[in-house]
């Protein structure tokens, strides 16, 4: 009998972030020599929670090295939920800082001796918006996965401010990597109309993208600790994510 061995390592790490600050992140990798493709995970507004730390372990299981930076580390020390509350009260973090932190996370992955050099970014909710943004701003990104990012399109200019000065949709012409988008058709933000408008622009500009929209699902339907979890749609969505990343950044089938 042959029982194939599978293992992973998951731990907190530090990385060089925006402004050369040293930040903390949660990191997981498969055991073995590699080379492995990399994924950066962007958490949602409430912060660096338990669910977001499960995502790197899921990717490690599928043969990726994966890092989830704590985008609010500068407000620490403290529990991530308390830190998230302080960031919320301050109006969130700036887009520029997030872009710099994601760029630092990408460099962290690429510098690992078992990296294959290719890196994708994936984010959820406000992290989906950040994903769209970094995909348009960072030229060395190899793939992007936007999971129900709201406010990619901003119809009300009063929502723009010093921290979030531009709607990501305005930067679409600079998108250089393949984009996967997953959306629930019952989601009010991004609504089906928002998704239609984003897709129309991507098509018009000749971008490489893949959108999947799910009936019977609203916002955040991957979150298996919330009532909005949709098992069938989430299972299909994860399959599409893994297949998309294997196609564009490599990894075993």
């Amino acid at each position: 009998m042959h029982f194939p061995y599978q293992g992973m390592l998951a731990e907190t790490v530090t990385f060089r972030a925006y402004n050369q600050d040293i930040g903390e992140a949660y990191y997981a990798r498969p055991l073995g020599p590699g080379p492995f493709p990399g994924v950066v995970i962007i958490h949602h507004m409430p912060g660096w929670d338990e669910w977001i730390k499960e995502v790197p372990r899921k990717f490690a299981y599928h043969g990726f090295i994966c890092v989830a930076p704590h985008l609010y580390f500068r407000e620490g020390p403290g529990d991530p939920d308390d830190i998230g509350a302080r960031v919320r009260a301050a109006g969130g973090v700036s887009d520029e800082q997030v872009i710099g932190d994601v760029a630092g996370s990408m460099e962290f992955l690429r510098a690992l001796p078992y990296s294959n050099g290719r890196v994708a970014v994936m984010g959820f909710c406000s992290g989906g918006r950040h994903t769209y943004l970094v995909a348009c701003r960072l030229p060395n990104l190899d793939a992007a996965v936007d999971c129900w990012g709201g406010n990619v399109i901003v119809d009300d200019p009063s929502l723009l401010n010093d921290k979030r000065p531009r709607a990501p949709i305005e930067l679409t012409e600079h998108l250089r990597c393949p984009l996967l988008g997953l959306f629930g058709n019952d989601d009010p933000n991004p609504s089906p109309d928002h998704v239609n408008r984003t897709e129309a622009l991507l098509k018009k500009l000749g971008k490489t993208y893949e959108f999947h929209r799910y009936d019977g699902a609203g916002h955040g339907f991957f979150a298996n600790n919330r009532p909005g979890y949709r098992a069938e749609q989430a299972t299909d969505g994860w399959k599409k994510v893994i297949a998309f990343l294997q196609k564009h950044i490599g990894g075993h089938k």
Binding site: M45, D82, A85, A89, C125, S126, G150, N151, G218, G228
Partner: protein, 91 residues
């Protein structure tokens, strides 16, 4: 969606958290995804003392329906209390 909108209420009073009682001067009120409650969205309130840096908080995450019930009960308790105290004062 994730919301960045926070309603701030100035308060006078105290709240009790893991470190014991503390003065509070602000309630940050929001409606967004929770950190802990097993709900898609919650009404959250963080009671803090901004004058002391606002780093400690007493937090709640409750359903929208719970929040509406709570608002009514707060107003009802205030009305009942006002009436009772007015009656005592008149005696």
């Amino acid at each position: 969606m994730c919301s960045y909108i926070v309603e701030k209420a100035a308060l006078v009073g105290s709240a009790k958290g893991p470190k014991g009682w503390m003065h509070i001067d602000t309630a940050n009120v929001y409606y967004d995804h929770p950190y802990h409650a097993p709900l898609d969205h919650v009404l959250g309130i963080d009671f803090i003392c901004e004058a002391e840096g606002g780093r400690d908080r007493v937090a709640i995450e409750i359903s929208a329906e719970s929040a509406r019930v709570l608002v009514k009960k707060i107003l009802a308790a205030l009305a009942t209390g006002d009436a009772a105290h007015a009656a005592i004062a008149a005696e």
